[in-house]
């Protein structure tokens, strides 16, 4: 401040001077006064300015003091709480200066490490502090983290399982530099967060999850395997020419088998969904088929209930859609089965319509019933797991309680919605809307809808199966590997439709490896079961691909057969040397596709043409039977009139030898039964010895036949003593006879093999001859059957050679019906 003070005294009132000089004196005084007043005014202003300045300064000082006080209080509070935070922190916190000397640590560190006092470690270097734990690795890691934290601007994290005094514990360790405003590191903070319990819980959870997955895989396999047999055999039966009602029943058996599979799958599915390993598998499907299947699967549930079923279908629904047919069927099946389940009598309605959106539709389905309905408070529980609402009143109603929960999840996965309207006591309506892509936009049309309404679409599955073109594959040879014989039967049965296809079967991975290593036969494809005891499918394939070494072993197509419907199968198999996989129950359409891809499509067009025209292969002919006849004429067996026996079979040596072979195979069992006779089992003994009698006479072993006859009479007469007297002798004689006959059979077989190898080889028995054999067997025309047999026996065959031997045997044993059945089944698929 500038204050202009000239040392002037305070102003005073002008004095009046007497006389002539009074005026000028007055003027002078007035001027002085004015000046003084002016000065006063100036001073007054300056004082005022000074006062304002002081006032402002005071208020500024006051506010700063107040601020300082507030900030101090806050800082104290913060420091106090920070102190408490650090003291009470359950974590180990270490604060080092930038050179690594300890500045602070929490009490937890002292407690865990057993250090009695902070002073013992205060100011010590971290190397010295951590050296006490005798863990060089830990010290190295700590040093590395501190160095990294200082160097980088990032927080360094890590995990260690260490013992720093509290036993072995797992810590999440976070190390970070503490930087000032300029970004320079002034210290390091290390935080050790004990996650031991969390780690253990996590390991336990992971183990439980693994166990669950293994259980799922195991259960999936164990349950699906027998269901594969049920569904597979039913499907095979569906191919036969059967009466319509039988076919309908078989359709229902098959459908119910699938339904059972689906119910089991409910439980497996919910587990998969919950574990996040569930995926939709969209395919191209017929809309009419899904409607028909849903209806036919559930009509049986109506049973004797007085329920009227209505089906409402929009004729404009597209013919084919692309979506997860199986899961959609699952949803519809669940809703419809529930509706029938919960409707004692009345009406159940199933409806389908759609709203088109470019190349997709919103498929709207509803199931409406006049059943028991659902109370309002129970509706929210409907889609919960394992909940059946109103359980007290409906204990008799079966179900896992999972269906609607799965339905909802499936619908949501299909980008759809599911809603329910219900009134307790009056009924319910479940509406589902899902998005599906249109692959064939042609509308179903009135006729199809009318057929569906009249349940005339039940042949859908059968027709689907029948619509497969089972092309002959006489050039093909496949190997099926499965430890379950029934599965082999199913697979082989399915493949037999491909005329001429050679199907070899083995029951273990080792056998398969052996066959492929020996390379006696080059298979076009190998169908390998996934889960087998000992060496499973994957391990078997690995050995085939990696250990055998041949080009054939490395490249032979191997298709996995798996009952495990686990997500990721495709990747699993393709990464382990398989070319494809089929799930069990084997779908005929997919099997057909696999056979076409790996067997048929590898052949030249000419080969395929010849096979399909039946002119594949050719061969020369050699007279095997003459050689056998020569053998028999030279053979002498006591008790057997070989000449008479041959005459019985029109001098066809091979037939007679076949009968002898059958005698040697069946008689030992009869003898075992006869050997254990007691007085109480005499009636049964009589029956058995009667059979033995017939067999002996059948090969012209008359002496043994007569002995058997005498024993039969004794047994029928209840003469146990007589039976016992003659039984041992009979058994001994027949035993000796068997030895000789077995030798004869062995010699005949050796001759047969030589002859076979000298024979011309055809890929497979001639179809026309087999058809002639079939017709003859139906008419019991033995002469024609024998004549055809002779023709067939002139060749050896690359496939179905066993069939010829079998027919020959059946002829000997009068198994004409068996011949008819087998040939009918074999030839029917064409």
């Amino acid at each position: 401040m500038s204050i202009d003070v000239n040392g002037t005294d305070a102003p005073c009132a002008p004095a009046v001077a007497p006389g002539e000089d009074g005026a000028s004196e007055n003027a002078k005084l007035t001027a002085e006064n004015t000046g003084l007043q002016s000065q006063v005014k100036k001073l007054s202003r300056q004082l005022s300015a000074l006062q304002k300045t002081i006032s402002r300064a005071e208020s500024v000082a006051t506010i700063r003091d107040r601020l300082a006080s507030t900030l101090n209080a806050e800082r104290s509070k913060q420091e106090r709480f920070l102190g408490m935070l650090i003291e009470n922190s359950p974590n180990i916190i270490l604060l080092f200066d930038k050179d690594g000397y300890l500045a602070y640590c929490t009490n937890t560190f002292l407690r865990v490490t057993g250090i009695q006092n902070f002073g013992l470690v205060d100011g010590r270097h971290f190397t010295e502090i951590f050296a006490r734990f005798n863990n060089p690795d830990l010290l190295r890691h700590v040093a590395k983290r501190i160095a990294l934290a200082i160097k980088s601007k990032e927080t360094i994290t890590g995990q260690e399982t260490i013992d720093i005094g509290g036993g072995l514990r797992t810590y999440n360790i976070t190390t970070t530099a503490m930087r000032n405003g300029e970004g320079d590191a002034e210290g390091i903070m290390s935080l050790y967060h004990d996650i031991t319990e969390t780690s253990r819980a996590k390991e336990a959870a992971e183990a439980a999850s693994r166990a669950k997955s293994e259980f799922l895989a195991s259960m999936s396999h164990e349950i699906r395997t027998p269901l594969n047999v049920i569904n597979g055999l039913a499907e095979l039966e569906l191919r036969k020419h059967l009466p319509q009602d039988t076919l309908l029943n078989l359709e229902k058996i098959y459908g119910s088998g699938v339904t059972l599979l689906n119910i089991i799958n409910d439980i497996l599915d919910i587990s998969k969904i919950e574990s996040g390993r569930f995926e939709l598998v969209p395919i191209d499907y017929e809309v009419a088929s899904i409607i028909s299947d849903t209806v036919s699967m559930n009509m049986v549930r109506i049973g004797s209930k007085a329920i009227e079923f209505k089906l409402n279908i929009d004729e404009n629904l597209p013919n084919r859609l692309f979506g997860d047919e199986l899961r959609l069927k699952q949803i519809l099946n669940n809703l419809l089965s529930n509706a029938i389940k919960y409707t004692p009598q009345g009406v159940v309605e199933l409806g389908f319509s759609c709203v088109r959106e470019d190349d997709e539709i919103w498929l709207d389905c509803y199931v409406k019933d006049s059943g028991i309905g659902i109370s309002e408070e129970n509706i929210p529980k409907l889609f919960s797991d394992y909940q059946q609402v109103d359980m007290l009143n409906h204990r008799t109603i079966e179900g896992t309680g999972l269906g609607l929960s799965i339905c909802k999840r499936l619908v949501l996965m299909m980008d759809g919605s599911i809603n329910v309207e219900s009134e307790y006591g009056s009924g319910s309506k479940f509406s589902v809307r899902v998005r599906q892509r249109v692959t064939d936009p042609r509308p179903l049309g009135k006729e199809c809808v009318d057929n569906l309404k009249g349940f005339r679409f039940l042949e859908g599955e059968n027709r689907r199966v029948k619509n497969i073109d089972y092309v002959p594959m006489p050039y093909g040879r496949v190997l099926v590997v499965d430890d379950v014989s029934m599965n082999l039967d199913v697979a082989k049965g399915m493949m037999m439709a491909y005329e001429g296809l050679t199907i070899d079967c083995v029951t273990s991975g080792m056998d398969a490896i052996d066959l492929i290593r020996r390379e006696e036969t080059h298979y076009d494809a190998v169908f390998m079961d996934h889960m087998m005891p000992g060496l499973d499918g994957i391990e078997t394939v690995k050995k085939i691909r990696e250990e055998i070494g041949s080009e054939y072993a490395k490249t032979v197509p191997i298709i996995a057969l798996t009952a495990n419907a686990i997500v990721g199968n495709d990747k699993l198999f393709l990464e382990n040397g398989f070319q494809a996989f089929l799930t069990k129950p084997i779908d005929v359409v997919k099997l057909d596709a696999a056979l076409r891809q790996f067997v048929r499509d590898k052949q030249s067009p000419e080969t395929i043409r010849q096979a399909e025209e039946g002119t594949y292969g050719a061969g020369a002919k050699k007279d095997r039977d003459a050689i056998l006849k020569n053998l028999l004429e030279k053979t002498r067996i006591s008790g057997v009139d070989i000449v008479a026996g041959m005459k019985r079979f029109n001098d066809v040596a091979s037939v007679y030898i076949g009968v002898i072979k059958s005698f040697t195979q069946n008689m030992p069992k009869l003898l075992d039964t006869l050997r254990n006779v007691t007085e109480s089992t005499l009636p049964e003994y009589a029956v058995t010895v009667h059979g033995a009698k017939g067999s002996c006479y059948g090969i012209d072993a008359d002496e043994a036949g007569r002995m058997a006859e005498a024993l039969e009479i004794s047994a029928k007469g209840g003469d146990f003593a007589r039976v016992m007297a003659g039984n041992e002798t009979f058994i001994g004689n027949v035993g000796t006879l068997l030895l000789q006959l077995e030798g004869l059979v062995r010699s005949a077989e050796e001759i047969g093999e030589e002859a076979d190898s000298a024979k011309n080889t055809l890929p497979a028995p001639d179809r026309a001859l087999l058809e002639k054999m079939l017709d003859a067997s139906r008419d019991y025309d033995i002469d024609t059957m024998q004549s055809v047999m002779d023709e067939l026996d002139q060749y050896s065959y690359e496939s179905e050679g066993e069939l010829i031997s079998w027919i020959k045997e059946q002829l000997v044993n009068f198994g004409y019906d068996a011949i008819s059945d087998r040939l009918d089944e074999m030839l029917k698929g064409r």
Binding site: S2, K42, Q46, A49, I54, A57, S59, T62, L67
Partner: protein, 385 residues
Amino acid sequence: MIRMFTAFTEEIDDVETAVSEVLNQLDLEGGLMSNSVGILHCACEFDESDVVRKLCERLPFDVVGCTSLSIQVQGLKSQLALTVTVLTSDDVRFVSGVSSPVSDDLNGPVTEAYGRVIGSLQEKPALIMPFIPFMTNIGGDEFIEKINELSGRQIPAFGTVSISNEHDFSRSYTIHNGEFYPTSLVLLGLIGDVKPMFVSATVPEDKILKQKAIVTDVSKNILKTVNGMTALSYLESLGLAKDGNITGLESMPFVIKLSDGSFLTRACISATPEGALVLCGSLPVDSTLAVATMGPEDVITSTGEKIREAMAEIRGRSMLIYSCVARSWMLGTKVMAEHDEVDKCVDDSVAYHFVYSGGEIFPAFLKDGSISNQLQNDSVIICVL
């Protein structure tokens, strides 16, 4: 080029003496070039006499300016002074004008004045110097934003807001050709070969308190709520107010961080009965508010730094320096300390004036080539002409 010379008087009552003092210091006979203008700053006490009017009648050029607190030219400084800074040039023209009084809506008066003074020019000014009236219902930034809009963000502005030493900042005037205007905008335009250089300093970041709050309700320059509570309550929680009394708060800058990361500084003038705070400029809702605290050393250091920075580029030119009045309050009892620092840093050969301001206006040059003139408080700004 522009030549600058200054005059100084503390005579308020004796008009003739005051006028003579000023005229004697100005070399009007030989010192003036083709074009001239005077920038007059004075203490509000000069409204008690006719000095300003009489002086302006005697000066042969337009006079623009405003009231202030302590003022300094060429080593002469006083809280009760009047200074005249004459700008004269052969190749720079000067135009000036004053708007009609502004009440609630500045758009009409400012637009009219701008159009009359600047808009009518064929050549765009190289610099605008606005002298903005101190008003509690309209923040100075509103005037600046209007000027930005009217200038198409193409003309830099450097200026000040009128202020006084009254406790309620009454008797703050803009001045144009001898008349005091409480609510009118005065504009000065410089047309020609002018390449001004600008230097500024505001609140250092390390002086901002770490307590941060969110502006939750505001109406232009009236800060209503912070963190959902009344602004006054918030200040009381910080200890910056007590029982509704915010005396001294004007010395503590309010630093507002905007969503784009830039900062505004605002001084607080008063509190309303409803607990709202009247600031010198507007701020947006949802911005982050913090209070800063600067002491005498902070003020002196920053002023010294900026003057030295300007001096490095002076090259025979002159300086106009405005420092926020709040900075004078931060000095506490050392009311002339900043003046002394100016004395120390400015060479005797350099013409300058140092004036306390009710709001500092200076340009920001943006990457897209536009110019965003802004109003800040608690700052020191320098224009080298």
